[in-house]
């Protein structure tokens, strides 16, 4: 840590001479959760995003203080929602008189599912929120949860947390291909009155400051993410919505076909990074 600090200072001195670009980039910190689970926060870019060279978790772009919150479950504020979801998992709700546990026994059964999500089933992109609501409405005869509700995002986080540390490995060919292409097209579209694409900020400028924000690669391996600014778990689609809104654009809705395709595409840009759910961000 001390050496890094010293290097940081050297970088700073240099930067004065050669311009701001010297600040660019992720830090060198390593993420080991609870001193046990070693996380892959840096990996060779998958073939389909070769232009990135290396992919990085958003964790590598955050301040030491924010990073520390995620490194230990006792300090991770998202764990409250995850614990609540663990209780909800065995709570009977709805007319069928069932809980999630009635069919799935233990939530640990879901270990290994998160890295492959979203996936295409019967010609549709399926994301966790869809799976959970389909169980609730069809199998439990209970009410669907709202996309951004604490219940929904807590349950998504609980299920993804079972795979924490495993590398993301989303399928992009076969049935997934047309959706992946659609998501890719969105990623490079310059939306809104500011005419900015995801790639403008997260591919061309990651590592750079945009006003007070240190731009990451906009990876979603840590979602749902606890956002300190909003003081709650936020969904992937909520984040997409915020980023598109900030280009002075008319956004898409959470749960829309557009955002599902974009989720599939963005997830695939992180193939090789550890599932980090629930991550903590500023």
């Amino acid at each position: 840590m001390n050496l890094q600090y010293a290097l940081g200072i050297a970088g700073l001195t240099l930067a004065v001479g050669i311009g701001t670009a010297a600040f660019a980039g992720p830090d060198e910190d390593k993420l080991v959760i609870n001193d046990v689970i070693e996380m892959i926060t840096e990996a060779p870019a998958p073939e389909h995003v070769k232009q990135l060279g290396t992919i990085y978790s958003g964790w590598r772009f955050r301040t030491d203080d924010t990073q520390a919150l995620e490194a230990d479950d006792f300090s991770n504020p998202a764990m409250l929602a995850v614990d609540a979801a663990a209780e909800a998992f065995s709570k009977v709700e709805g007319e069928a008189g069932k809980s999630c546990a009635s069919c799935h026994e233990d939530v640990s059964k879901f270990k290994g599912l998160a890295p492959s999500m979203p996936k295409v089933v019967d010609g549709k992109v399926v994301v966790f929120e869809d799976m959970i609501n389909s169980c609730r409405t069809n199998n439990m005869k209970a009410e669907a949860w709202k996309w951004n509700s604490d219940e929904m995002q807590g349950m998504v986080a609980l299920i993804k947390n079972q795979s924490r540390g495993m590398p993301v490995n989303v399928t992009i060919d076969g049935d997934a291909k047309p959706f992946w292409e659609k998501g890719k097209e969105m990623y490079y579209t310059r939306y809104g009155q500011l005419e900015l694409s995801c790639a403008n900020c997260h591919e061309d400028n990651y590592g750079n400051m945009i006003r007070a924000d240190h731009l990451s690669q906009g990876q979603i391996n840590g979602f749902p993410t606890y956002r300190l600014k909003q003081a709650k778990l936020i969904s992937v689609h909520n984040r997409f919505k915020g980023c598109i809104r900030d280009t002075r654009a008319e956004t898409f809705k959470e749960g829309s076909d557009e955002f599902k395709a974009l989720e599939l595409y963005v997830a695939s840009r992180g193939n090789g990074l550890s599932v980090e759910t629930p991550a903590v961000r500023q």
Binding site: T20, Q193, R211, R248, A249, E250, T251
Partner: protein
């Protein structure tokens, strides 16, 4: 008699400003190699007002650019080049063109077009995320463009 003179004076003011009465609509601005020779208001801008726009509102230039003259403000961006010495590198017409529509000078640039109202994909109603209710206003008015250009003209090294 006194009243008559006032009326005359008022008339002559109107006549004088009539030549520049309305700023050109964004679509009517003439760019030559990216530069815009004519002031959009027919008058010099106010550098002090321009300085404020560098930080606030729809200008917010320092979201992407560092400017040493504004070092009392926190958090300058690193997306575009530092604007120190901008007036040594560009003349007034070129700076006006860059601020009004930077894509005329740097095709594909990430810098937004501040005097442009159409040709966008899914434009919104400011930062609400909703569809606009009517025609869009440019990000900066003609007067604000001139104010920002006047400020940039003070950035000499």
């Amino acid at each position: 008699m006194k009243r008559a003179t006032n009326v005359l004076a008022a008339l002559s003011v109107c006549a004088a400003s009539a030549a520049f009465a309305a700023p050109p609509a964004p679509g009517d601005v003439v760019y030559e190699d990216g530069a815009v020779a004519q002031s959009l208001t027919g008058a010099p801008g106010d550098p002090a007002a321009g300085k404020v726009l560098m930080n606030k509102g729809s200008g917010n230039c320092i979201a992407c650019h560092a400017v040493s003259d504004l070092s009392e403000l926190q958090f300058h961006g690193e997306i575009g080049p530092s604007l120190d010495g901008a007036a040594d590198r560009w003349n007034e017409a070129q700076l006006r063109g860059i601020v009004a529509n930077a894509k005329m000078t740097f095709p594909e640039t990430m810098m937004p077009s501040f005097y442009k109202v159409d040709g966008f994909i899914r434009p919104g109603n400011a930062y609400t995320g909703k569809a606009p209710e009517g025609p869009l206003d440019p990000l900066l008015s003609a007067q604000q463009i001139e104010d920002v250009v006047a400020y940039l003209m003070t950035l000499k090294e």
